[in-house]
Symmetry: C2
Subunit: 520 residues, 2 copies
């Protein structure tokens, strides 16, 4: 019987998470591995999203899709392939994506000298690019859907896979193929299109905050960071635990660029032909990476209860056969009662796995709440609730915190407290992430302070006045590996960072501060 060995292995692999303080990059990979979220595949740069990771993505999809539909959008599906000539129609767009395109050139294999090979006789008349984004193919189609102002606004979203050939990949954060949604909308006026661009950025920010428990800064990208073919690119930026920024979603105002290259005109209310105004916006499986890097700890994954595939796990504890029967019965009842409240619950009654091994496993997988059911609990009519995380108290060690994470409550009280506890934990995660961001945000007016912040103090979000232009941006990128994450919208500027001032690099006057950081 090889099984007990398997168990020990499971415990070991759960334990073997590199601490964040030691190596943040390795810690991230260890969390992804032990939580069984994703792994590399046989194809360079492409990841496999394992069931636990995928079910987090499914929950994100459901939440986002509900928000898209509530704001009037409809889902549709467009081809995976884009003929090269079609991609080339919008020049800037084509130039932006040319270097990372997977290109289909043939449509048949055959056996050549006993080896399965590409059949040279099957070359396509025109090569097809795997969509790196779908503006060109979608606007080609919109041509047939839009005749008059009555057909506008046209509010479309697509859930799809995307390919951008990447040389250096990182699970969830940067892979050659990834999953995303891309909204594509058409409007009669620039004002309406701009309103939509900001509206969807708002949807992303609200989702990040209220569902992912990640506070974000909303703002505009500088011209150099704009989406290829966009007039304006908006983004949301979150802070990870290492102080780096992660772009979590973008929303583009495309003006009439794609309408012109695809020839999409509409008859306006005055009976005149006019080009349509466009937006596009997207978030991807990258958000799973953001979720991990923002909340998880040295014991593994930490999930906000709203996105946890399992919210509660019930673990039975027993020694004798008599205890076993009683404890399994009670555990099963507890799980059923919680399921009846609409919670996602697992009763882990596996034989041959110790309670300790189960604790480690479910902790590593980020289950927010564990309920332990043992013979003593049965005697007392109580249950033990163990929270996946506790807000830290300064000076406390890990064992003390573990102790504090457990509460022993009378059965009815314990069951009644599950939902409020989960809601509380959702709020605490947001509080913790917000506190981290505050701690690592700095208003900086001097380039020496800037250098110290990023080179000695670990860095974070630097709020600086800027009028240094593209060359200045390049200089800062070279010296400090920092970039302008965004020109924040006024509401999202750190209170202490409001007002006018002088550029940190050139001393030129500046209207407002920008957000600088190192980024993923």
């Amino acid at each position: 019987m090889a099984e007990p060995q398997g168990v020990r292995q499971e415990v070991r692999s759960a334990v073997a998470i590199t601490p964040r303080a030691k190596d943040y990059g390795q810690w991230y990979l260890d969390v992804v591995r032990t939580a069984q979220l994703a792994e590399h595949s046989a194809v360079r740069g492409c990841m496999v999203i394992r069931p636990h990771g995928y079910s987090i993505w499914e929950r994100m999809q459901r939440e986002l899709d509900d928000r898209f539909k509530a704001t009037g959008h409809q889902n549709a599906y467009f081809p995976l392939f884009i003929p090269v000539s079609l991609l080339a129609k919008e020049e800037e767009h084509a130039a932006g994506f040319a270097k990372e395109c997977a290109v289909v050139t043939h449509h048949r294999l055959k056996s050549i000298d006993g080896k399965v090979s590409v059949d040279p006789a099957s070359e396509l008349e025109e090569p097809l690019v795997i969509r790196p984004t779908s503006e060109t193919i979608i606007w080609e189609q919109f041509k047939g859907w839009i005749q008059s102002y009555r057909d506008l606004p046209l509010l479309i979203n697509q859930w799809a896979n995307i390919v951008r050939w990447e040389m250096r990949t990182r699970l969830f954060l940067r892979t050659s193929e990834f999953l995303w949604q891309e909204g594509h909308t058409a409007h009669a006026t620039d004002g309406e299109a701009l309103e939509e661009t900001w509206r969807m950025l708002g949807v992303y920010a609200e989702f990040a905050r209220n569902v992912m428990a990640v506070p974000v800064v909303r703002g505009r990208k500088t011209p150099g960071e704009r989406f290829a073919g966009a007039v304006e690119t908006l983004c949301i930026e979150g802070m990870m635990q290492d102080g780096k920024a992660l772009q979590m979603g973008t929303s583009h105002y495309l003006g009439q660029n794609f309408a012109k290259s695809a020839g999409v005109q509409f008859l306006n209310a005055e009976g005149k032909l006019e080009y349509v105004y466009a937006t596009s916006w997207g978030v991807s499986t990258r958000l799973v990476g953001a979720l991990i890097m923002c909340h998880s700890d040295d014991n593994g994954l930490v999930l906000p209860p709203k996105l946890a595939p399992l919210q509660v796990v019930v673990v039975p504890i027993f020694k004798t056969d008599a205890e076993r029967a009683q404890v399994l019965e009670e555990g099963s009842k507890v799980a059923s009662e919680l399921k009846a409240k609409g919670l996602s619950v697992k009763f882990d009654d596996r034989d041959g796995v110790t309670p300790g091994a189960k604790y480690y496993e479910w902790e590593a997988k980020g289950v927010p709440l564990r309920i332990e059911v043992g013979p003593k609990d049965l005697e007392k009519g109580s249950l033990c609730l163990a929270r996946r995380f506790m807000l830290e108290i300064q000076g406390e060690n890990d064992a003390q915190r573990r102790k504090r994470s457990k509460s022993f409550l009378p059965r009815a009280e314990a069951l009644a407290s599950v939902q409020p506890t989960l809601e509380g934990m959702q709020g605490e995660l947001l509080d913790r992430a917000t506190a981290l961001r505050e701690r690592r945000s700095r208003v900086i007016d001097d380039i020496q302070d800037y250098e110290r912040f990023f080179k000695e103090e670990g860095g974070g979000f630097a709020w600086v006045h800027w009028a240094g232009g593209v060359e200045g941006e390049d200089e800062l990128a070279k010296r400090f590996e920092t970039t302008i994450r965004c020109i924040p919208m006024p509401e999202d500027i750190l209170p202490a960072a409001k007002g006018e001032g002088k550029c940190i690099l050139t001393g030129k006057p500046s209207q407002q501060r920008v957000l600088m950081a190192r980024a993923y």
Copy 2:
């Protein structure tokens, strides 16, 4: 103002559906077009699924996904790309798909002589095939997931896009890219794997019947029709209104073929290494085609209420401004009250579109129930319910049936009748499809009768004894364009077709009849 013209156009295009009796193929395309379900794209062989078509697919997905999860399956996601050498590992499988593979050979574009072209310097070391199905890439990954019998069964499903290069395409039924789900499971014994193969076929059949309102015959494919690499292929076959069969889903028992080619072994309970047993099963957007062809009529799409994106449309009717205000208020109330019952309802209060135009449009789009609200209804405190279809009465003309489809009921009674009416319509569609299938099924023992059935009487499902082998199958395919759809499971054999007999072609003894038909 171009708008009234637009309206007339809308009505015209809704009316312009070729009758089934005149040209069934054109009728199908007309229904797809007027219901705005899908259309061809700029890419040869690839379709665009429009919002109305996509939302039917979303409903199918939700129903199927619930069933997969209820039977213990989890979703995951695997790469779009399969290295040619990996596809080639299972020889029969590779040979089966070699002729319809889209192959990626390069990863960059560049401007050559001012034209965006494939960069010859970006050729991949190994070409990548776009997945035509994912057995090879998934089993490569399963290798790392399966060590002992404790890891089994492994029950995985994937929702994904698939590419099989097709020369002759038909919207929904056969396109180069399509959307589907593919289940891939691993088991410790052949018995468990076979059980799973039949279980999932049962899930498909139940879904087809209870959700799509399409009765199906479950059975086994003959060896020539098996999935490339399978030991056994099971299928469900539905009958379309032209009497042709449509394969609506398949479930494959793969034996140890893929486990062996990928080298996936597990330690069994006796501590011995053994190859894993596998299944795979899938349904695709083809089901939307089946839905259309099975239920729709000369006025457009007919949808079973369980899959209708809109179940009820409320249309206001008025002449004067005073009537308008009252009727819009009542219409909005009616819609809200129905929405509160959990129904999917649209209140069509568009200005500048006549009620008649609205009727045509929603009929063409398959909305099961229309509620008309006019000044007379307000006066009487009644509502008019108009059903999208009525079971036919012999000798009745279209106008008579239209009249019969309307009922004028007191308001409260009308609202209370909506849900039972929809449930009734769901059942009636299944009854109608079942009756059609019975009418066009024939037990045939003589090749002359067989010829008459298919060449003179329009054909349908022919139940015949068979022991003619592959050559005999080829002969029948050539003479009559018919194929063995399946060797039905005993429960699904037409009662009059049960028992032993002699092959219709060779006269050899046969244990049971098979199902023969022309097929899509």
